[in-house]
Amino acid sequence: MRKYAKLMKTAYDTRPPKLVEHDLHDKMTFAKLGLGMKLLGKDDMSDLMRLILINIFDVMKETFQSPKLQAALALDAVIGTPMGPRSPNTVFTYLHRFMGEVLGFEGATQVKGGMGTLGVALSNAATDLGAVVRYDTSVASIDKTHDRVTGVTLTSGEQLTAKLIVSSADPKTTFKSLLGYQHMETGLARRIEQIRFKSGTVKVHLALSGLPTFTGLDPSALGQRLVIAPSLNALESAFNPLKYDESSERPVMDISIPTIHDPSLAPNGQHVLSAIVQYAPLNPKGGWEALRAPFMTAVIAELTRYAPDIASLITAQELLTPADLADTFGMTGGNWHHGELTMDQVLMTRPATGISQYQTGIDGLYLCGAGSHPGGGLMGLAGKNSAQEIIRQGELA
């Protein structure tokens, strides 16, 4: 898997090559990919061809015997997706998760001071380089004349002119909400509309008065990733209801207690538990208002099976549903990859065919977010590749 992930990094590191009309840079990318494939050797190469389109369930079954290990690894393949372990594409999503290791991050990793500080750090770096960052400001629309963008209009009504606009919003937000489908040709609008944005992921935050006791777990291990995924079938059973816009009765989850590594995140002696929980739909039957409390109860019940004292430690709780994630962070469908990460939505088809190299078909408008190649996961590669592409375009941009 590591070998395959390394090969994937070759493609991740630069703009996705075009299949037709490719230039020298694209030819180099193909050559590197081809060479990488070749260097895998015949057996590994044919195994990659076999593996990439099957599912993580089969791969785990043929590789490991321990149901717990099978499930723990398979959870990585489905986390953040609307897929179960038997869904096709899950080997690819597993490789994508592996990218962190290829890029040099191993074990539990977190941003000191919380995820928000990453944004602050980036913003500070930009400011140091002379950029002006405006906070609490939302863009209402991207303005254009004929084929060229001219600037943006803010929700305050203020208009800013610009020759170049780079959007980190997901492609559907960028094209549908900010630009408007009526302002582009139908084929492009259709391709954007067809991008799949489903999610099955919920975020749960618990404020705890003290550290919970997980049965059979040494307290020294609480700083690691804690996974509740008892078996592959338990994962699949948790996934089943999502197909019908229903939520798991027994959700599976990936838990971290960031206050162990960074006590500054909570008042003295107290802790924060953060869990990525699978599966709950964007629009459940009956709406989220009806499901919110029962689903939270199901999550706590599942946690209690492993940490019997946890309920008594909770001082505050927060449930971010896919709908909340969509509304709060402007992610269409609540999908944290800004578009499902599946074989049909990667490389030259991410976000959609014809607009794959961070360009949009509309002069002066570029994409740089997770909706572009190579997708999300806090890699920053989409942004880096996009910036390089804009620089490469130079005056044309």
């Binding site: 549908k176 040709e185 509309e193």
Partner: protein
């Protein structure tokens, strides 16, 4: 009409009882899922009803879509290549529409029924594309194909026949104009449009009134030698007058299987329908590029020597094949052998002379005929009566 026959059940049009009664030779074809006559009694005589008296064609299978709402005009301007804003109320405009690659998907007519109320008639089923196009616009799109029955009433005595039926002052209706009459307690719409290049009208009623319309029209037109005609006669008339047909003279772009087989409006001789001044329409970017870089093909009308229709012929320049024929017919009124061809650029300038390599079979014996041909400037048949207002009485 050149569709392969498929083993599917065909629908009947609202005129079927009357059409079947008149279809003496029982020669039926599949037009967009409807059973329609290829010929009623004699193709040539049917053709001459269009050119000499009044010919009637059941147009009901034509796909009809209603486009309504505050954004209807903006919607159509984005979809079609033409400037729709120039079509006044109670006027009709012919247009094509393209995909993003600037390739023609279909052609059709747009009827402006009101301020923000249009009807689009298309050759292809188009509802899915029309709905995709509607994203971002405040419009409603309704498929009215089955809600309207229509007859094309074409030929020099067509105005008189229809006036006789009770459409008073019809002769004052201008080409591409439309008008509504009371008819049997309902509304009848008539437009001065057609696919024959002659004086002619299209009459639109509810399916319930279809048979009544047919009966009254044939009664009124009796003295004016009114006759029904089928798709074979129509084909001759449209070739004679230079009208291309989707699925015959070009492959609808979104149905194309092999790369490069679709054609742009420029390549079909329809540049007059493309308004590049419009800020946005489907295919604009690609068409601007084509205009700058040149087209791959040119549409040409060829006058072919002899009387053997140059169907499916190769067009040769010396030993080199420079194009193929998409439609061909011996045109009786113009007394010319006409062919539509797709020629490789830069061939096809007016007056250029080539050779049509015509293949035909006689008793299992294939014969090759080399017929000289010449590119002509516009359609061979284009009578004054087609445009004259008031229409010439008979």
């Amino acid at each position: 009409m050149n569709l392969p026959s498929r083993a599917t059940m065909l629908l009947e049009t609202p005129f079927h009882s009357r059409v079947a009664e008149r279809c003496e030779i029982n020669d039926w074809g599949n037009w967009m899922g409807y059973t329609t006559p290829n010929a009623f009694f004699d193709v040539e005589l049917e053709y001459f009803s269009i050119r000499s008296t009044t010919g009637v064609f059941d147009l009901s299978p034509m796909n009809k879509y209603r486009i309504q709402g505050p954004d209807a005009e903006a919607y159509l301007n984005r979809m079609a290549t033409r400037n729709i804003s120039k079509i006044g109320i109670n006027r009709v405009g012919y247009t094509v529409w393209c995909n993003d690659a600037g390739m023609v998907m279909d052609d059709g007519t747009i009827f402006r029924l009101g301020e923000s109320d249009y009807r689009l008639c298309s050759y292809q089923r188009a509802i899915d594309w029309l709905l995709w196009c509607a994203m971002g616009f405040d419009v409603t799109i309704t498929d009215e194909t089955e809600d309207l029955a229509a007859l094309a009433v074409q030929g020099p005595t067509s105005c008189t026949s229809l006036t006789e039926m009770g459409l008073t002052d019809l002769n004052t209706l201008k080409p591409f104009g439309m008008r509504t009459y009371d008819f049997e307690g309902e509304k009848l719409m008539v437009s001065r449009t057609g696919f024959t290049g002659d004086l002619g009208y299209e009459v639109w009623v509810s399916p319930e009134k279809a048979e009544t319309l047919w009966d009254q029209l044939f009664d009124a037109g009796k003295e004016y030698l009114i006759k029904p005609f089928g798709s074979y006669a129509l084909d001759i008339a449209r070739i004679e007058t230079g009208f291309i047909q989707a699925g015959v003279d070009f492959v609808p772009a979104e149905e194309m299987v092999r790369p490069g087989r679709a054609r742009s409006p420029f390549e079909l001789g329809l540049s007059w329908l493309v308004d590049l001044e419009k800020p946005l329409f489907n295919g604009r970017t690609a068409l601007l590029k084509e205009k700058a870089n040149g087209s791959r093909y040119r549409f040409a009308i060829l006058n072919v020597d002899g009387n053997k229709p140059a169907e499916h012929s190769f067009i040769m320049k010396g030993d080199r094949q420079i194009g193929t024929v998409t439609s061909a017919a011996w045109c009786p009124t113009a007394k010319s052998n006409i062919a539509f061809a797709q020629l490789e650029m830069p061939e096809g300038a007016i007056g250029s002379e080539y050779v049509a390599e015509i293949y035909y079979q006689r008793e299992l014996h294939w014969t090759r005929l080399l017929a000289p041909c010449k590119v002509i400037d516009g359609p061979i048949f284009n009578p004054k009566r087609r445009r004259k207002t008031p229409a010439i009485p008979h």
